[in-house]
Each structure stands twice: as structure tokens, then as C-alpha cells.
Subunit: 139 residues, 3 copies
């Protein structure tokens, strides 16, 4: 049994879902591990991780719009607004989605379903550089 | 240290919570691993995983009703409705719950609390066959 | 590769977010593992886990208020109210957040971001003793 730990940086040019499946698969390819468990960890509280359908662009927009509706920007709902109106909703949307995701690996690839993609969900309005940890254990 | 990886299929005959704790424990029994970490991964974007109370049937229905309220079917809220009115809410309910769950294992069993059960949360209206990956690492 | 499994108990004196990062780091220190994967598992369905900002107290209160708004106490919304009005919202707030969290470990510490803290999110009104499992695998 071996393990690998890596840090990757994702540039999120705008608010919303950014697919990162390819970046993760590229790193898996270098690891030499065929069977194991991959864990992705997002080191932020205003961006998160999500596994969603990667086929229909309309579905992606509907997900973004939905989270904007249930955790909206507001000058009155929150007491913590000094970092901008998009800051507190960013924490809430992070709380409602994932900070860590674990995906089994087989034949050197993530065992995602046909329509599943892994996304960084950027919740701030301005472009951000986001840091993810990738941990892989297996044989 | 050893690991096991398995694929199981669950038939969800209707929308809602389907307890799968027994199917998972049955597989654990065959693994010969006493102490370790079990990860359950759902290969779908319109069904998800949830750990919930497995004692009160009313609590189960309240959970189902709640997610139907906060991510409702709607002909106007979503632009992605071509796969049916229950499709986009299914993606949203998946986003709000879990696609992967990790549970420590001790004495060959999941270390669930007294009232915890593991559920497949089926979000589509029609019966579905769902595929889960089970990864176990330990001694 | 080695693994450690531990049970810790947290006393939640009131409803809301209780930071537990220090308790977890203290246990990590005793493990002798420098690189690996830590999994935290909450053995309850009316308390959960959350990674959130640990700098601004106002942000913490906003998170608590938000979950009280989207999964409110109600004498009419739920059929399962016999354990108190705060019981069913507790299950829902648990469903919307995390029961398990996995965090990579490097140099013997969790690879949390600068502003991330790990919280037990107590959803019941009365004080509770909560049990968490900690699983660590690595070298």
C-alpha cells in the first residue's frame, strides 16, 4: 500500500461551477496507483466541491441559480457583510455542499458514473485562485 | 494493510429513502477486515446518500417532504426540464446531500450510532437501478 | 502504512457551532503519523460536522441563523414532533451538512486552509454529549 499527497491550484475566473475532473485524472495518471481511494479537499470556506451532471449546460446554470436563490446576497439577512455582500452567501453555499469528497479508484481512474463530473464551486464574484489537496492511497 | 473494492446495485422501486445498511454490512462480513475505513460512493447525479435516523418512519417521511419543498418540481424555475419535471430537482437534492460517505469500521462493523442508518436517497419518480462503489481499507 | 481509530466525546453546552479543531489536532499529535488521511465521523442524526470560517464570530452566528431559517422549528410542518419541536429540524440540518469529513494530513497536521476550522454543529436545544470517531491512516 502506498499513498500520494499533492496540492493543486485552480483559477476560478468567475462565480459558479468549474469542472476539474481532467486536472484530477491527469494527476492520477502520474501516481502509478491502479486501485485505491482518492480524497479531494478544498482549503477554503467560500468555495466548495460538488459532483454534478457534466452533460447539460442548462443543468449547470440551474444549479448555480438555485444556490443563489436559497442562500442569496442580502444587505439585511446577515450581520457579517464587511467583506462584501457575496461573502456570507459564499460561506452558506459552502456549508450546503462539500469541502471534502472521496472517490474510489479502479484501473487507475476515478469510478465516476457516466454523467458525473467533479466541480470546484466558486462562490465569490471576483476571480480567485483556489488550493485543493489531493490524497491517494492504494496499490 | 489490505483493501477491497466492490460494486453493488440497489433497486429503488420508488422516490425517497431506501435503507441499505444491511447490504453494506453483509459485504463487510465477507471482507475479513476488522478495523478500517469504508467509503460508499454513489455513481449518479439524481440519487444520493444520506445517514439518517432509522427508527421513526415519520422522520423518514418528513425528510423526504422537506427536500421536496426546498428543491421542488417546477415548470418555470429551471431551464433544464427536457428529461422530466423531476430531473432538475433530483440534481439539486443530490447537491444538498451526499455522493460519498466514509464510515470507520471496528470489530468488522460500521461504527454507526444507535439510531443511524445509511440510505440511498432516490430522487427520480420512476423505479431505478442504482450503482454504488464500496471501498474498504484496513486490517 | 499504519492506522489508528479513536473515540472522542464532545460536550455541546448549547445549540450551534462548537469548534473542535484543537481536540482533533491534539489526538493527531499522539499518533506519530506525518502523512495520511484523517476521517471524522459523527455518530448522531441530530448533530453534524461542518468546516467553516473560524475568524469572524458574526459569520458563525449567521451560519447558525441561516440553518434555523431554512429548516425551522414548526408544530405544523413535520409529522415527527414527539421528541420536541427541535428534533425534526435537527435531523434536517444534519442532512444538509456533514456526518463524515475527510482531511489530508501533512507534517502531522490537518491541511486546513488559513481560515478553516472544524466544528461540531449541535442542533438540539438542550446540552448533549456527542461521540465522534476519528480514523487516521498513513505513515
Amino acid at each position: 500500500m502506498r499513498q500520494h499527497l499533492n496540492t493543486i491550484t485552480i483559477t476560478a475566473r468567475e462565480q459558479g461551477l468549474h469542472e476539474i475532473s481532467d486536472e484530477i485524472e491527469a494527476w492520477l495518471d502520474t501516481s502509478g496507483i491502479a486501485t485505491g481511494l482518492l480524497t479531494i479537499f478544498c482549503k477554503h470556506t467560500s468555495a466548495s466541491l460538488l459532483i454534478q451532471e457534466n452533460a447539460a449546460p442548462a443543468a449547470k446554470r440551474d444549479v448555480e441559480d438555485y444556490f443563489a436563490r436559497i442562500a442569496p446576497e442580502s444587505a439585511t439577512d446577515y450581520s457579517h457583510n464587511d467583506e462584501g455582500l457575496d461573502d456570507m452567501p459564499a460561506h452558506l453555499r459552502t456549508a450546503l455542499t462539500q469541502t471534502s469528497l472521496s472517490v474510489p479508484v479502479r484501473h487507475g481512474r476515478m469510478t465516476l458514473g457516466t454523467w458525473q463530473g467533479i466541480y470546484l464551486f466558486e462562490h465569490r464574484r471576483r476571480p480567485q485562485r483556489r488550493t485543493l489537496m489531493l490524497h491517494l492511497i492504494g496499490d
